[in-house]
Structures are given as C-alpha cells and as structure tokens.
Amino acid sequence: ENKVVAKTVNGKVLASPAVRRVARELNVNIHEVPGSGKKGRVYKEDVISFNNNKGQVATSVI
C-alpha cells in the first residue's frame, strides 16, 4: 500500500491511467516525457511523439 501512496506523492508526472499505460506499452519511461499540458500534464500524444523520436535519441530503454 505504501508503494502506491508514495507514487502518488513523489511521482512528478501528471498523467492519467490511460497515458501511463500507453507509456508502458511503448516501453517509454514516462518520467522522461515532457508534458505539453497545463502544469506539465503528459498526454498520449506526448508519449507517442516521444516514442517516435526515441530511435534517434536513445537506443535502449528499460
């Protein structure tokens, strides 16, 4: 339970469950994705475009 709570508080990423899931599916570390929304909110499109550019930026994630 503590793990869950700590995530809420320490996770600086502002992203909804669906966005977090897309990041997982794409092997994207969501903490690295710059958010385009208010207060840095990360949207699906942010994750997807980060992933599309990833090939050039970083080779291995995980």
Binding site: T8, V9, S16, P17, K39
Partner: protein
Amino acid sequence: MSNEIKTQVVVLGSGPGGYSAAFRAADLGLDVVLVEKYSSLGGVCLNVGCIPSKALLHVAKVIDDAKDMAAHGVTFGQPEIDLEKIRQWKDKDVVGKLTQGVGGMAKMRKVKVVNGYGKFTSDKTIEVENADGNTTVTFDNAIIACGSSVVNLPFIPEDDRIIDSTGALELKDVPGEMLVLGGGIIGLEMGTVYSSLGAKVSVVEFADQLVPAADADVVKIYTKYNKPRFESIMLSTKVVAVDAKDDGLYVTFEGKNAPEGQVRYDKILVAVGRKPNGHLVAADKAGVNVDERGFINVSKEMRTNVPHIFAIGDVVGQPMLAHKAVHEAHVAAEVISGKKHEFDPRCIPSIAYTDPEIAWVGVTESEAKEQGLNIEVANFPWSASGRAIASARTEGKTKLIFDKESGRILGGAIVGINAGEMLGEIGLAVEMGADGEDIGLTIHAHPTLNESIGLAAEVFEGSITDLPNAKAVKKKK
C-alpha cells in the same frame, strides 16, 4: 480415477481475483482451467464476504430508516422479522444469483472448472484432490488466487456461540447480548446488522479508534452518531479471556475502557482480521516463495519469483479487498497473454458499509503527516448540504486532501449516508491528477450529496459560497 489436463493457464481459486483472471485470460484467447475447492464459484467475496454482508446491511438500513422516519411524520409499527425469509433471500436471490452467474460465464467462456483442492506438485503441475478422484493439471502459466482466511485467537474456546464473519452471515438467530471483538470494517458491519435486528451489541477494539485505517476526525463522526446503536464501544481495550459457561460467555477485558470483572454475552463475533492462504497450496513445490505470514510477494506484473507463476488478490498483500483483486487479476492475465501491463494504481478505495458509511481513497491525513507531505485539508460539513438536510442525515462530512503546492488532489474521505457511492469521483480525480479547480469547476448536480465534493474543492480554492469562506478577501473599511 485420475485425470490429466494440459492448459495454457491454470488459476488456483475462484474468488474475485481468480474468476476475473480466468475470464480475462479466456477472453484474450488462452485456454484456462479454474480450480476451486467449493462447488460454488466466487470465493469469499460472493459466498461469505462482500455480497451477503451487503444484503444484510440493506435489511438493516431499511429497518433503521423506517424507525428514524417517526420523527418526521411517518410511523411504522415494530417490524415482523422472519429470519428464515431473510436468509433465503440472501442465499438464493443474492448469493445464488451471483455465483450462478459466475458459473454460467465460466461455461460461456469455455473456462474449464475443476472442483477440488489444488496443490502444486512442481512448477508445471498442480494436483487437484477431489472425492471423485484426482486431476493433474499441467500448465504453462499459473495464477495463484487462493485468498485469505479468518484469523482465530488462540485463547478463545471453541463454542457454537462464538462465531466469525461467516457464522455471523449465517444469521442463525438474533442474540440478546452480543460482543463484537474487533472494531474494524467487518466487525462494525456485522455489529450494525445485528443491532438493527434487535441484538444489544458491544464492540471492543484494541486501537484507540474504530476503523483504525481511516482518519480520526472522520471516524469520530461515525462513532458519535452510533453511540445509541451500541451498548458500549470499548476502545484501547482487549479481551484476555472467554469463559464459556452454560448460561453464557463470560468475558474478561483489559485496557483503558475495560469493565470490571467478567461480562456475560450470549454471542461473540470474532472479527480481528484475515490471514493470507499462501502456505496452503504447497507453493514450495513450485519454488514460489511465501513469506512467514503467508503472503506471496509479486512484481508490478503480478509475477512471483517464478516468472511463469503469478499471484493476485488477498494472498499478495494489503489491502485485502475484492476490487484490488480484480484489477490485479486483469494485469496478470494480460501479461500472460503478452500485453505490457502493470498494477500501478495511484489509489485503492476502502469503504465501511456502516450507517453512516465511512469511505476513503488515496492519501489519508495521517498518512500524509507520517510521510511529511505538505498538504491542505478542505472539509465540507453536511450540516450545510441541502440533500443531507432533506434526508435528515446531517452528521456527515466530505474531506479532501490536496497537495498544497501544486493544488493536486491526493485523496479524500467521506463519512455519511451513501458515502461509498461518491468515492468513484475522488478516485478518478486522484488518478487523473486533477486540481482542486478541476473539481470545483466541474458542475455537480444540486441537491446531491456528491456535490459536497465540488464544494469541498471550492473550500480549498477559496470560492465557496455555501459556507462562510475563510479565504475571502478581507475588506478594508
């Protein structure tokens, strides 16, 4: 007779965790075997947990509401209570309907149900014992969903008059004097049922408040409202001995609010917690680690230390709640099917379906303090809620907890009638990372109890007009 089955996925236990995992796996195209020792599917939750308790609580609520209405012009006579009929309704129309539904859906999904007690014999096989013969299930992947059992206290004698939650749900009779040992959710829910049905119920709790996991200010409202319901609420007190005599159960207490000498009860409900069943499935034969208490440790993918063996539900840890089990179940099944998925919620809701209900989700105030978080708490007291007033139930309150700096909501708690139904919004808000303003600017219908969530957010934002506004601009003149 001995059978052999090969399957892609075997699920051990058919509780909310088990059947959800089995169904999700089947829907993802996998062959699934579901092992369950009882003929009725659904586990603790459907058979002797969530569901029958809520059926009895519904009965209790109607009895209480009818009684309360006398003060407002509608007087019912003392109701005639037909325990047999209540039991039948609970067992057939409620539990029976749901467990049959699960059984029917298993068939529909071609999930093969194997009845009997299952134990690992290797990391690829489970042996299911059944009076009609054993079945060996050879699997590619296993999901352990064996749940939890009631904790018994060693110093309490065996006696028909001493029951656990399962015994309480059987509703054999309504005792005269009843002691509920444990002031957590299950104890209070059952205490509510029996007191509404006419028993004189006392509650003893070792901690210094009821429902220790919830915030003190929230629980205090419950406790105050329920003073008349209970004969006594003994906090910071424990039972040290029970003497079972012919004419009653004589209980000795110790602690801050312990009564002197022995106190006689007709029935005792022991509701001091549940322990995981990890030790009962021969997990060692599969190489799966089980800790001392019986919990099986898992990753966010719900994998045990053996990568093709997963575990979910009560057996993997707190909170032991059906909805946690279901979401973990989906993750396990999806991961097995090859999807990337993790159990990674920001919050898991808890509800005591008492009267009033106590419901909370996300960070509590006391957790926030422990963790040194910089929070701000916003309360909306139901004494200012039109709907609460129109329902003559103004004791409640809605409490939201915000991160002071970002304004983001971290959690919330509600005590009041229907509180549990309102957690969905707070949970979604926490998951979405909503601000106070997001919630406050969302138009909530008037007059509802759930508008108190919007109003509490307005208290935080300083835009509240349905209460005095502590953040109002101070006028100069």
